[in-house]
């Protein structure tokens, strides 16, 4: 495979997750805004989840890359 799709996907969700949770921290005291989400700071929690998902994708992609390298390095025995 040419490009592991988990790489860009992981990066994107890490970035979006970090933006979202940072925004959640900054707006922590804005109770009026979070009335919409029933008082939960959804930005912080969902941001953390998205970042974790992205990180997991990156980890999987990295593991696959390491395995592919190892397979390529060991000569194939017929």
């Amino acid at each position: 495979m040419q490009l592991d799709v988990r790489l860009p996907m992981g990066m994107m969700f890490v970035i979006i997750g970090v933006i979202l949770s940072l925004y959640g921290l900054i707006t922590w005291s804005d109770a009026e805004m979070y009335q919409r989400s029933l008082g939960y700071n959804v930005n912080l929690w969902w941001g953390l989840f998205l970042a974790a998902f992205g990180a997991a994708m990156l980890l999987l992609a990295r593991r696959a890359a390491i395995r592919a390298k190892r397979d390529a390095a060991t000569p194939q025995t017929p």
């Binding site: 495979m1 040419q2 490009l3 799709v5 860009p8 996907m9 990066m11 994107m12 969700f13 970035i15 979006i16 933006i19 979202l20 925004y23 959640g24 707006t27 805004m33 979070y34 919409r36 989400s37 029933l38 939960y40 959804v42 930005n43 969902w46 941001g47 998205l50 998902f53």
Partner: protein, 579 residues
Amino acid sequence: MPHLSIALAPVDYLILAVYFVFVLGIGWALRRYMKTSSDFFLSGRAIPAWICGLAFISANLGAQEVIGMAASGAKYGIMTSHFYWVGAIPAMVFVGIFMMPFYYGSKARSVPEYLKLRFDEKTRAFNAISFAVMTVFSSGISMHALARLLEQILGFPYDLCIAVSALIVLAYIFLGGLTSAIYNEVLQFFMIVFGFVPLVWLGLESVGGWDALVAKLNTVAASPANPAGRVFAEGAWTQSWAHMTSPDANPMGVEWFGMVMGLGFVLSFGYWCTDFLVVQRAMAADSMSAARRTPLIAAVPKMLFPALVILPGMIAIAMHHELGDFLPKDENGATDFNMTVPVMLARFCPSGLLGVGITALMASFMSGMAGNVTAFNTVWTYDLYQSYIRPGQPDRHYLRMGHIITVIGILISVACAYVAREFNNIMDMLQLVFGFVNAPLFATFLLGMFWRRATGHGAFFGLLAGTGAAALHHGLTLPAGATVGVKGGWLVGGHVLHTYPVDMAQNFWAAIFAWTGCFVVTIAVSLATRRNKTDDELRGLVYSLTPRIKEHGVPWYLQPALLGTVVLAAAVVLNLIFW
């Protein structure tokens, strides 16, 4: 009249921008792998099953799905889940286990090409032309729906929305071909899921959980002010099967036979098993086993989607009924159910999460549109250009054609979007005609794959007959309260043979007639004509002439038959839970 307008904060734009950068970045990163036409149109048949599987549903997860299913959830309640648990899932299992061996194994590069190998040139041409026209129109309608929605809720200029969405989709397909479309569909799949999960969770939390929602929807069912305007028994909005004994007992206006045969059998199998838009994703898989697993993997998230796309509609109608003006009215003063998702976004998402939700909405429109564009450029280049216009050119020539037709296809789509904006009726009529052409297709494939005696003439005239039967049925029937014209009844000066309670029932029955017409005529004409393909030529194309596939080296838990059984069992359980 409450008009919905949502204001985006800078953080929302930032999230949207990050998404766009990655969508384009994927196309850019893939551009150097596009060396042959096979790379561009078929992803070089090198994509792992799980990626194909997610792309398989994502390509279908366009505007109609996200906006339309939420609207149906509000109008018809949980009966909308029949589109999933009766419609999509069995058809996806069928295409994976029984049909993929012929699609993938025949090395056909498209669905019309399979028809050529199995039947003849004219059957392929009929299918290729109608499919090509239909896909560019669909992508135009998708674009129009997105632009109008963004114009309505965010106040973005219509032209700008069209230009931006067209350019982005163009760029990433032009650069990275089908691989780029598939990778982006995977990205879009997760974006849509992650955009909708918090929305549904907050919505459910705010009405007080599932049991409270059921209680609220019971009062909706008992009120003559509900979307159907009639009183129903308790549970009409929250029980999927219990009210299907008669069309009058449920808001959808269909009885179980019409639903199971029309939707479950004809329409769903017709779409999931023969539409190149989705089948193309499985054909890009890296092995036969992966191709067969593609729809089965796709079926797993697909059967959970009702929670994401139908539930918001059910929550919205409960709130609408309680508050009186939760959903806005359209220009005719009727409740605008298509605004369900935007209204829910506006109600429950603070800035930040709102950006994720709007991005998810855009992702769904783009995945639907890109799916159409990639299917169109492949059918055009392989089935029309290479077959009838310029055959026998070097591969480089067709790769170049692929690039050119991607641009042209998107330009036509843009034109269609503007036509849809100005003349809504033309689009309704076109979709109607496409419906006539599509409905009988599954009969042709079924006979083609499982009956070696079916001939080219049989298939072609069967298709014509099925299309004719659908048109005839439409011309002689009408949904209650509709005026003669695009809705039906146009054949004999407004004289109508049968009146359906709602247009949904009319659609289901039109499909049943089309399928039956095609099935009967294909058999009759096939028996009356000589076979145009020998057993040898049909090897790998017809069930009885193809050696059974042995899945070597595939662990038992990945065997398609086992996966398919598990998926079907799960769908049965879901039906029982919400019976």
